[in-house]
Symmetry: C2
Subunit: 429 residues, 2 copies
Amino acid sequence: QSLVMKLLTNALVVEKQPVMSSLLQRPLILKAGVRFTATVRFLINLPEFKDLLKVTPVFDKDVEAAVKGLRLASCCRFRQFNFVRDNSKRLDVDSPGGGLAAEFAYMDIKRKTKAPNEQSHVGVCEELHLVTFVTTFQIAGLECNIQVSSLPVVVISSSSQVCSAWASVMWWNMLSPSEPWNLSLFSNPPPLSWQQLSQVLSWQFLAAGQRGLDENQLLMLRDKVGVDPEGLVYWSNFFKNESAWIWIDGILDLIRKYLVDLWREGHIMGFVSRERTRVLLQEKCTGTFLLRFSESSKEGAISFSWVKHSNGEAHVHAVEPYTKKELEFMSLPDVLCSYSVGSKFRKPLVFLYPDIPKDVAFGRYYSSDLQTPKQGGSGYVDRRPVHVSLLPLTPHSPTMEMNAEPETMELEQWFEEMISDILTLPAPP
Amino acid sequence: QSLVMKLLTNALVVEKQPVMSSLLQRPLILKAGVRFTATVRFLINLPEFKDLLKVTPVFDKDVEAAVKGLRLASCCRFRQFNFVRDNSKRLDVDSPGGGLAAEFAYMDIKRKTKAPNEQSHVGVCEELHLVTFVTTFQIAGLECNIQVSSLPVVVISSSSQVCSAWASVMWWNMLSPSEPWNLSLFSNPPPLSWQQLSQVLSWQFLAAGQRGLDENQLLMLRDKVGVDPEGLVYWSNFFKNESAWIWIDGILDLIRKYLVDLWREGHIMGFVSRERTRVLLQEKCTGTFLLRFSESSKEGAISFSWVKHSNGEAHVHAVEPYTKKELEFMSLPDVLCSYSVGSKFRKPLVFLYPDIPKDVAFGRYYSSDLQTPKQGGSGYVDRRPVHVSLLPLTPHSPTMEMNAEPETMELEQWFEEMISDILTLPAPP
DNA sequence: ACAGTTTCCCGTAAATGC
DNA sequence: TGCATTTACGGGAAACTG
């Protein structure tokens, strides 16, 4: 009997499914009031247990017990939750393997009315909770109690907290192999080595955009995150106030939603400082550009910088970053394709750094050719947005006369274009 | 006593407040599960009633009674709802007038589990319900019951039903002066005269954009709505399947959100057929344009049409309509300001019909001048979207050679522009 | 007053009912 | 099956609460 018990104690395995559709890659975060699904599997293939194992999910089971017992008023406690319905289910035969399993669908937790001593000193996303599945059964006249718990779970009340909750999950994931499971981990969170953290960060990008971070990108992030002389990163620096994580998470979201293709193909250098951008570009020929993430926007935004040589000097310009809202309307490849400068609408972007012709890198993603107007049956004239900048130096600004040289160049270019246009025009009849 | 009773019977007046913030101008629509507020006022200024009048809101009070009494199984019934909490309140002194009043905040209805005979043959937005406020009190040993009801209320479960619900409210409003209150109005809805309907429609535009509909606009709508030979409009034509109302409501929403200014100032002709647009514009000089609502989009969209004379022929073009989603990014005035055509980015819009220079009509709403690049401290180059169309006839399309004449014109214009540009350039040093 | 947290609720999408 | 209606829930904003 004792052997059976021991086997059973470790016999249930929990596979958690996502809380929300947008959290497909983010398990271990539960939003109160939003349904989630978990599957419990009985690993010992004994058909005689069929219909014997009635499993009940309990939220924060051991925490309850501990509080009811010894340390009732001794310390502050986490928020308390419970399941809104009775989700008990009997394990049944699982089609493929023949083992016993049950899918707990429509699980849904609700916060209990706050207890008087329920005043945690960590943020809600630093509370770690557990979902435990318990079952009691008789075998050979003996009563057995077995149970299995989920990995630690962060409970949020609004989707605006997903970003913070995910930071906790990452931190916990990196520490769990070395530390014993400790639900109060964040009351005194141990630091991570940059070694460890950089690896998790790279995984995030792999998950979001099918490509991790390269050495240069990680070097730039290392500066942002704040690594101490011993190569350690502290939780409070990584996550708390105006931290690097919120910025990085915004960019992950940007990639997931609008830049998967370009990120996967490595066309986005992304994490590169403004200064380094200048250094890289000024060596390259006019029209060379690169894509980098805005360092100021917490929402995730992407800009491009390009170089223009005139008069022996290299000028590096950077466009106002594009936000998610803008990319919803026009894909980044289309922006790059049509971006124009000056009153003559010249195209300043030619080569993706180091030297890939723009259309080779992005051509396959252009939504359609500007040169072939759509003739829909609708009778409406098709149109498309073109993003245009007036650089500080333009032919029409007389206040800039001290910079007359580049203007002369523009004028020359313009005549060239004009001649070329005339040559391609059909001859008047 | 009888006099007092009679006075009291009509003594309570209900002032309903909006269900939802976006329904500020749309009372009489309640969404299940969304809180609303109502104020009940006791019109007789007798301070001795203070704290005597405990008023309770009841949903569909008389309907309940009628059903419990006689016609229980006789006919189909509307959906049933009730208030989720006890909202009883005592009337108290109302600060300004000194009269008795109470504000019922946090009222919230919930659908009852469906009764077996609850199968109405009208749509949910055609069911008319009532909120009734009842009070019982003793005066001089006599028990008095008084009550007052709201105007009929449409109960919806999703904000996607607001459009349909509002159609019912309008129809009811136009009929209520002549018909006795009838909650089953829509089981056999009487027609409205076009006279009446056109007035309500005009009011909708007055409410949404501070300007009603003029005669020409109403004439166009008359055709859309479908008026019978006797000048009557039937509910089923106005509202049911692919009806005019859904289209009109989309446009009202477009105006409310993005076009209030232009609509108020009468710069949007809006309701004008494509044919009439052609007739109006071809008489006018090149560059004259007008704004009209898309007739095909159910979502509310606006297009502009302009005329170009070349070779003695008038060509009227219309741009692909702008949707709400697009106007969120770029205001219509900015679109009009920057809209360009052809590879030379010429501006085809000059005069708002009949002859108002574009900048006079829209200039004050341009978000900023394209000619003065913003020099933010951010170090980023400002940019803005310009909408560009390639008309079927362009200098670069050799397949169009039979229309060579307009191209020659374009070429001439282009040289003119070039000369003018050269003249305004600062002289090379 | 304020920041962290929760609630509210529109608008869209998906699910459900009929 | 298709349409009518309801439910689900992300996302932004307001409201709450210490």
